[in-house]
């Protein structure tokens, strides 16, 4: 029997980012999805009970995103990760991937607007974006490194 080599969260996230990059979604939608993926990849799925995988973790993340009053995406991601139970989250550097949720060039007006629109989307269209994000990063495929 051949065992499928398990992937690390970083690998899964990288793959998700690549898939997302290939799509024709608008740039601000891509940034918004990346913000949600960044939160979800921090979950330590090994500590999540099978019954909780059915939706409890997702529901909790959605609840905290909607409750956040952060004025930018990195702060929002940070606030949500702070509120999630300590034992279910990897508290580690988010790595290069998280750079995408920062405005790339602060002086670039278009990039700044995209980033602001992405923040608005994450707050207002949390659940639709969450459902789209799961197309790139399913919890059932995630494993603990």
């Amino acid at each position: 029997m051949i065992t499928q080599p398990e992937k690390t969260p970083d690998q899964r996230l990288q793959e998700a980012y690549v898939e997302l990059g290939k799509t024709d979604l608008e740039p601000d939608v891509k940034i918004a999805v990346k913000a949600i993926l960044t939160i979800r990849q921090a979950v330590n799925w090994a500590t999540v009970k099978p019954e909780e995988r059915k939706g409890k973790v997702d529901a909790t993340i959605v609840k905290y995103i909607r409750a956040s009053s952060a004025s930018n995406l990195p702060t929002l991601v940070d606030e949500v990760l702070d509120k999630l139970p300590f034992d279910k989250i990897y508290r580690r550097s988010l790595g290069d991937f998280a750079l995408d949720i920062y405005p790339q060039v602060i002086a670039n007006e278009e990039a700044r607007k995209q980033w602001e629109r992405a923040l608005t989307r994450v707050k207002r269209e949390t659940i639709p974006l969450f459902l789209i994000s799961k197309k790139f990063y399913q919890d059932t495929e995630e494993v603990t490194p």
Partner: protein
């Protein structure tokens, strides 16, 4: 839900008008035959002759005569054969188009009874009519009362006309016109020989054969007994339908058959009998004709004497009668516009110096003629809780009709959830027509596909037809059971779930049906809601196909097919989220007027939602409700709050997330998780996000959300049409 189309066929056309210009008259041959009998027959023989005088028109033989197209329909041999069957002098029919006719022995000239009302301007000069007129404003608060009086009028005119027909001693009381297609290549004479007429079992039956392979067989039956029309047999036309030439909120013009020798006496008799009949009808409607502060004990007599007029309309040669410009000696008849304006002429009477405080109608006398009010006049009229002062004028008296309205005993019928539906003559332009085919014997090219007729016109016969269609439209829209067929007013019955007995229903009286005028009065909240859902939202019971109002109707009148937009009059109050305690005192009917509903996809009308909101409803509105209701059909959400969230600008998925009901104890799930599950469920619908690649899903979501937002922005007050849940999970 599949829509049922309104489609009517009352036989082929009877007339074309003008030459040139060429106009279509769309009233059918059977209607023409009977109308001429009612309008122009003076005795037994003439009545029968009129019933078949144009029989052979359905051969559609057109020839050029004197340079003009002429409808050749007086085949000597066949006319003689028919006359022998019914004992007529054949010359009566043979000579009916002769120019030099004998006024006493020949049939009266058609142009004097029916043909000079071209372009809906004049009623036949020699024909007799009777007009019912209300001397009051057409306000909602007196509508039920006016309906009852109109019913009494139609019942009595039907009885008087039926009696006059019965006095002729005819051997039949019904006339049935049957039309068959004759596709074989027979000659005109061969087909005419197939035509048949016979009297059997009180029925005069005339069978026609139309030379065509595209003609669809049809029959129409005329009931001359004076019984009310039967709403379940639309091909049978009642006498009251044939007599009603014109109807609106304030007047009815009806035919008074020429058979009646003393029309003045007949009108007096109708007027006299109406006192008794109207009282009987009002009693059955549970309307008390009193008011505690009225100066007269019986308000009905005062209403009929002072606010209602029944008058004969038959003076043929009034000096100021309009004249034919081509022939100044010839009077054009009774101008319809004058008759329609008659209620306003009556109201303009200088002797009516006072105004009704409630409806503004001009009334006699002045302070204290009908009503004895103290210092607290408004309290005396209504009650101490009356608050709708902004709808009242500053006058000193109240008309008798409004006193009836103000009687607190009449509260249930005259205020609150109700639907009042009345047939109407109005027709919305434009009228569409299509030539089915050029008839086989049309040698004059009267119906040439390359020379279409200019337009359709509405004359007296079309007015009768339109009111008749309006009645049938209402029969289609009102799907309740009607109890009793006695000729008196009937109960409208709805089967409601029986209390304490699962699966059992019991009949409940939810309104009254007035059979002669075919008007419906629904005053039960469940019935009104059901009617509204059926006729306007297109939601039938048990998934049946249903009629709705968002369609034009199709009328087949060979050789044409017409698209028409007829109408009915409606007053609709839903009482959706009304404060019931306040609603009982809120005089909602002071705030609205009845609306004319034209059947059309472009229809727009007012609905009084409850005691505080009135909304215009159109097709777009209905589509929005339908869309929202479909989205809200998911179990486990608070539908009212869900729709409120959508109207507030939320997307469909977020709205479900926010309005998911808490889980029950049996569900063993936390609320947040349940919300996500519900959100996922609705996202799977193709009207929300659907399935597919992330791009496809996101594109669908954006498109559907934009559609929803546009719809909701156009109807921000739509939430008033949804009932607030009384308990958790209700709707």
């Amino acid at each position: 839900m599949t829509r049922k189309p309104f489609s009517f066929d009352l036989g082929p056309i009877s007339r074309t008008l003008g030459s040139p210009p060429d106009h279509i008259g769309f009233a059918s041959l059977p209607i023409h035959e009977v109308m001429t009998a009612l309008l122009g027959a003076r005795n037994h023989d003439e009545f029968i002759a009129w019933l078949w005088h144009d029989t052979f028109k359905s051969l559609f033989t057109w020839k050029i005569r004197g340079g003009k197209p002429s409808w050749q329909h007086l085949l000597a041999d066949e006319c003689e054969r028919f006359a022998n069957i019914v004992g007529n002098d054949p010359q009566l029919v043979m000579r009916h188009h002769f120019k030099n006719k004998n006024r006493t022995t020949d049939l009266i000239d058609e142009s004097l009874i029916i043909s000079n009302e071209f372009e809906q301007q004049y009623l036949g000069e020699e024909a007799h009519f009777v007009q019912l007129t209300f001397r009051c404003q057409p306000v909602a608060s007196t509508l039920v009362l006016r309906l009852a009086i109109a019913e009494a009028f139609l019942r009595e005119i039907s009885k008087v006309a039926a009696q006059a027909i019965a006095d002729l001693g005819l051997s039949f009381t019904q006339v049935k016109y049957i039309f068959h297609p004759e596709p074989r290549p027979l000659t005109e004479k061969q087909i005419a020989a197939l035509y048949d007429m016979k009297v059997q079992d009180s029925m005069l039956e005339i069978t026609h054969w139309v030379p065509s392979d595209q003609f669809r067989p049809v029959w129409v039956q005329m009931d001359l007994t004076g019984a009310p029309p039967d709403r379940d047999t639309p091909q049978v036309i009642g006498l009251s339908e044939l007599l009603t030439v014109y109807r609106d909120d304030l007047t009815i013009i009806a035919v008074l058959p020429l058979l009646i020798r003393d029309p003045d006496n007949a009108v007096r008799e109708i007027e006299h009998r109406m006192h008794v009949t109207a009282l009987e009808i009002l009693t059955q409607l549970n309307i008390a004709m009193t008011h505690k502060k009225a100066l007269m004990s019986d308000l009905l007599d005062v209403i009929l004497d002072e606010q209602v007029e029944v008058r004969p309309v038959y003076e043929p040669h009034v000096s100021n009668e309009p004249r034919d410009p081509k022939n100044p000696k010839k009077a054009l008849g009774k101008a319809i516009y004058k008759l329609i304006a008659h209620p306003y002429e009556l109201m303009a009477d200088n002797s009516l110096v006072a105004r009704c405080l409630v409806c503004g109608s001009p009334i006699k006398g002045g302070k204290g003629r009908y009503f004895k009010g103290g210092k607290r006049m408004i309290e005396d009229i209504f009650s101490g809780h009356f608050a709708d002062l902004e709808y009242l004028a500053l006058d000193d008296d109240v008309c008798p009709m409004c006193l009836v309205y103000a009687n607190s005993d009449n509260k249930k019928l005259l205020r609150g959830s109700l639907a009042l539906l009345v047939p109407s003559t109005s027709l919305q332009s434009p009228v569409g027509d299509r030539l089915i085919e050029q008839p086989r014997f049309d040698q004059a090219n009267r119906f040439c596909p390359h020379k279409p007729m200019v337009k359709s016109v509405v004359t007296l016969q079309e007015l009768v037809l339109l009111t008749l269609l309006s009645r049938r439209i209402l029969s289609g829209l009102v799907t309740f059971e009607i109890g009793g067929r006695t000729g008196k007013i009937c109960d409208i019955i709805l089967r409601k779930a029986a209390q304490g007995e699962k699966g059992q229903t019991q009949p409940v009286v939810v309104g009254k049906y007035l059979p002669y005028s075919e008007a419906y009065c629904l005053f039960d909240i469940t019935a009104v809601n059901q009617f509204y859902k059926t006729a306007f939202l297109g939601q039938g019971q048990n998934g049946n196909t249903i009629y709705d109002v968002w369609q034009e109707i199709h009328l087949t009148a060979y050789p044409f097919e017409f698209t028409l937009s007829p109408s009915f009059t409606m007053l609709l109050e839903l009482q959706r989220n009304a404060d019931f305690q306040a609603h009982a005192q809120a005089h909602t009917l002071l705030k609205v007027n009845p609306t004319t509903i034209y059947l059309s996809p472009h229809l727009a009308f007012h609905v009084l939602v409850d005691n505080s909101v009135q909304e215009i409803v159109d097709k777009e509105y209905v589509d929005t409700v339908e869309y929202l209701e479909k989205l809200a059909s998911m179990a486990g959400i608070n539908r009212y709050e869900f729709i409120k969230a959508l109207l507030a600008g939320e997307d469909q998925i977020t709205a479900v997330y926010e309005t998911t009901e808490p889980p029950s104890q049996r569900q063993n799930i936390d609320w947040d998780t349940l919300k996500m599950i519900k959100a996922k469920q609705i996202s799977d619908q193709k009207e929300v996000m659907g399935q597919g690649s992330p791009e496809e899903m996101w594109a669908t979501f954006k498109e559907q959300y934009e559609k929803l937002r546009t719809m909701c922005q156009a109807h921000p007050t739509l939430i008033h049409f949804f009932q607030k849940p009384k308990k958790r999970g209700g709707y």
